[in-house]
């Protein structure tokens, strides 16, 4: 089992970038929450407040050409790969200039130009595809790494096992990142899963594993960077379990009343943004610098939303496009 000290080798500017990234994602998710209340978003959405450090830390360990796949709770990971805020908002609002032209929505944010290869809404359905990205990297000897985010609930679906098994037997460059937020939809993990440490499932596939504090962005980054390096070197896949917490319910229709008293409050104390700010302050960063970053993030999120709200609806005929390439 790998344990990692928080990223002593990450330059301060990079650490500040991580804070900025998490602040933008938090602002984005809070805005989505409000847009729902205003009836401006269709269907459902799955917010990731509290889990930003996993996306920002792990995606921060990637380089150009690497690929990322994630779940329907995928706003954070897609933005962490560099997808523009306005086009992400535009997609959720169903606008023509959204990332997917308004045909994907909240659960399918994708920006292939940034390596954000897709958000998938069938639990576990994207793990085999992430294996495919890893296979292509090996076949073409590109040195690329495939990172795949999924929730604790995905570890009980068949595709998880098929994917880890194949990635391991072929030693593919895939980093599986399980965001253990303690709940699979509405059900507490311990009512659905006979083991507490999900990373232990790697043992069944003779795969490297690591458990990391998913609310500590530098720890996530260091753990992911080590796994990415191993993958790139041809030493095979890793299963990382990032321990984190979903501060909101499963989806907009879930007030999360099943949570025991005090659980949310305890996790809010360990909010990833607050934790990282405290670490930066302890490292000598001025409060004023952090305030600046907060203000800049807020400004960028607001401006992006404003732009996206002004975009047109998709053209009616666009619904018939992109079924086939030929």
């Amino acid at each position: 089992m790998t344990t990692t000290d928080a990223g002593t080798d990450v330059a301060l500017e990079r650490q500040l970038d991580f804070l900025r990234g998490m602040l933008e994602i938090r602002g984005f998710e809070d805005a989505c929450h409000r847009l729902f209340a205003q009836g401006l978003v269709r269907g459902s959405t799955h917010l990731g407040q509290g889990q930003e450090a996993v996306s920002v830390g792990a995606c921060g360990a990637l380089r150009e050409g690497d690929t990322m796949t994630c779940t329907y709770r995928g706003h954070a990971a897609t933005l962490a790969m560099g997808a523009p805020l306005d086009r992400a908002f535009g997609e959720i609002l169903g606008k023509a200039d959204g990332l997917c032209g308004g045909k994907g929505g909240s659960m399918h944010l994708t920006d292939v130009s940034r390596g954000a290869m897709g958000s998938f809404a069938i639990v576990g359905g994207h793990l085999p595809i992430a294996v495919g990205f890893g296979f292509a990297a090996r076949y073409k000897a590109t040195g690329a790494v495939s990172v795949c985010f999924f929730g604790d609930g995905s570890t009980n679906i068949g595709a998880f096992h098929e994917s880890l098994n194949l990635a391991s037997i072929w030693k593919l460059p895939v980093v599986f990142v399980c965001e253990n937020n303690l709940y699979g939809e509405y059900s507490p993990l311990l009512t659905t899963t006979p083991i507490e440490r999900l990373a232990d499932r790697a043992d069944a596939y003779a795969m490297a594993k690591a458990v990391v504090d998913g609310n500590d962005v530098l720890a996530v980054h260091a753990t992911a960077a080590a796994a990415v390096e191993r993958a790139r070197a041809g030493d095979g896949p890793t299963l990382i379990e990032a321990l984190t917490y979903r501060q909101k319910g499963h989806s907009r229709s879930d007030p999360a009343k099943y949570r025991p008293d005090g659980e949310l409050e305890a996790w809010l104390e360990r909010d990833p943004i607050a934790l990282h700010e405290r670490a930066l302050l302890a490292g000598g960063v001025e409060q004023a610098r952090i305030d600046e970053l907060r203000a800049a993030a807020e400004r960028d999120v607001d401006a992006a939303l404003e732009r996206a709200r002004g975009w047109p609806d998709p053209a009616p005929e666009s619904r018939l496009e992109h079924v086939y390439a030929a």
């Binding site: 085999p128 495919g132 296979f135 098929e162 194949l166 086939y324």
Partner: protein, 325 residues
Amino acid sequence: MSETTYRAAITRAMADALAADDDVFVIGEDVGAAGGAFKTTDGLFERFGGERVLDTPISEQAIVGAAIGSAIQGLRPIAEIMFADFAAVCFDQIANELAKYRYMTAGQVTLPVTIRMANGAGAGFGSQHSQPAENWFLNVPGLKIVVPATPADAYALLRAAVRDPDPVLYFEHKGLFNLKGELPDAVPEVELGCAEVVRAGDDVTVVATQLMRHRALEAAELLAGEGISVELIDPRTLVPFDLDAVRASLERTNRLVVAQEASPGGSWGASLVSSLVQEGFELLDAPPLLVAADDTPVPYAGPLEDLWMPSAERIAEGVRATVAF
């Protein structure tokens, strides 16, 4: 020109595709060292090596997912799902991931994936290894569906499938693997969506694929002796479907019989009848007829399985009734 089996034509199509393009690879259960459960990949592992002809665990979801991810990165996978019935265990990968990926990302990805599956009844494999499964995918926009009946089509349509930028499900009929036919040394390219008029005729149009095409031809020859002239059309691909070819024939014959191996519900034959009733009603002088399998799973015992699927005689009976209407 040489005589080749349907099986050997499939093997040659894969060998030629592998030789022509380094981005093509073959992936599936026992497709490598063992040469395939139906020997359709025989010799490919020896010729192209284990990096391009890959044996997998029994993991259909991982096979299709690996094909999806690698296709997006520019490769051209040929994935084998041993028996078409097994497509059910990777239905999510095919119907939700492969078929919808391009659409829900507004064309950010292209998916040149070919999935080969051994299809169909008649060989005594029982209910879970015999279902003609092509109809499962008719209601999933985003997939193309190919159903070759002859060695020449098996070759040309597999090459077309691998060349195609979209996902193609390629069904190989188990009852045809040993069928022999002519295969030219240089096979002309065929596009998906072009039907073949197998036999010209004036009195009735019969549409059939795979094993049923051969039984329909047998029926047509029988009926010729009775003075009934059958035009037989093999659409060769179900998606895209060459409706124009069927319409053009009906303009002369004004009578339609569809011979289909599968049960009738939600099938291509039922869809064809429905389309022509809606859009070609004026062409029809008799009710269109769908000759199909029983509405049950495929039984095991020989006499039961023989009764389950349409025989040449049942097809001929349907044609007689339609012509006499």
